[in-house]
């Protein structure tokens, strides 16, 4: 029983996400199909919004997958296919939003946090070093013998 549970657990560990693309949806040309998969993974399903259309079982996602494959077969480039979908559903469908006026805050957020945070940290460390670097007063003879006593007690136990 334990081995079974362990085996099941290991199987779950290696199980990856399964795409929702059905065999009959796929293109016969493997190169085109690979591009279709690549594009589908970049496009958000507008019904279940945190899945790509490649992952989603929603009927609308299947329609969009079919459209992606149709456009590719018609000779569109990857960018043209993306633009076709974006023209209908907006930049929201791109799981990786483009850098533009609306998203500049989003893309610059890491810098906005890291730069002031880094500066603050640098200032703090410099100040601490300056005050802390001043030579500490050396231990007096009394303190040294007290310390030796403590350490000895610790060793004995």
């Amino acid at each position: 029983m334990r081995r079974f549970v362990l085996g099941l657990f290991c199987a779950l560990l290696v199980a990856g996400p399964v795409a929702a693309v059905l065999p009959e949806e796929q293109l016969t040309d493997p190169a085109l199909e690979a591009r279709a998969r690549e594009i589908s993974q970049e496009l958000r399903c507008v019904v279940c919004q945190n899945q790509s259309i490649d992952d989603s079982d929603a009927p609308l996602a299947a329609d969009l997958r079919a459209i992606v494959r149709e456009r590719l077969t018609a000779g569109d480039t990857n960018e043209e296919v993306m633009a076709y979908i974006v023209a209908r559903y907006g930049n929201f469908v791109l799981l990786k939003p483009p850098l533009d006026v609306q998203t500049i805050l989003l893309w610059s957020a890491p810098l906005l946090v890291l730069i002031p945070g880094g500066l603050g940290l640098a200032l703090y460390l410099r100040r601490r070093n300056r005050t802390g670097a001043a030579d500490p007063t050396p231990l007096s003879a009394e303190e040294r013998s007290a310390l030796a006593g403590i350490l000895k007690v610790d060793d004995a136990s």
């Binding site: 919004q49 009927p59 609308l60 023209a87 209908r88 559903y89």
Partner: protein, 178 residues
């Protein structure tokens, strides 16, 4: 300096909290339409049954402002919305229907049972026209002006509040424009 180091993080926190708080009040399932103030996509759809000689085409949207309602026989919320559409039709509002991703005969039967609030109906079984409109689900309603341009998109059923507060004032304004 000391006091500043105290106040600035608190101010920053309050700003971020306010921004996130406002974000919580938005419904993330409602996406902005790409078509606002743009002409409707070109389409020419057949009716629901073979006997229907007229369907719905993009050229039908000229003259006066109309509503385009996306519905389907599989759509649960459409059942809730339907009496409201019938009431609007009785008030003289022109509503065109788009039977989206639906078996045309199922759509026809659905309307036969509940009454038909639509002036013209287009059947869109593979959903392509809906996708050209950026439809994410049914029901959805577009306000289209007399020049065939999309002016507003409402996601979900038209409730009496949605009609009196949003759609009716907009239709009245567009009516005066034309």
């Amino acid at each position: 300096m000391r006091r500043l180091a105290f106040i600035v993080p608190i101010l920053l926190f309050l700003m971020v909290a306010a921004a996130l708080g406002l974000g919580l009040r938005r419904d993330p399932s409602i996406l902005p339409s790409m078509l606002i103030d743009r002409p409707i996509p070109t389409f020419d759809l057949p009716g629901l049954t073979p006997e229907d000689t007229v369907g719905l085409a993009s050229t039908d949207f000229t003259g006066k402002p109309v509503l385009l309602n996306v519905f389907a026989s599989w759509c649960v919320a459409c059942v809730i919305e339907h009496p409201m559409l019938l009431r609007l039709q009785a008030q003289g509002v022109t509503i065109h229907g788009l039977d989206w991703k639906d078996e045309p005969s199922a759509g026809a039967e659905w309307l036969a049972q509940r009454g038909n609030p639509y002036t013209l109906i287009g059947s869109d079984p593979n959903g392509r026209t809906g996708i050209d409109f950026g439809v994410t689900g049914a029901p959805e309603t577009f306000v289209i002006d007399g020049h065939g341009r999309v002016r507003y998109r409402h996601v979900g059923p038209i409730t009496p509040e949605v009609w009196t507060e949003t759609l009716q004032p907009m239709m009245d304004r567009l009516e005066r424009e034309t």
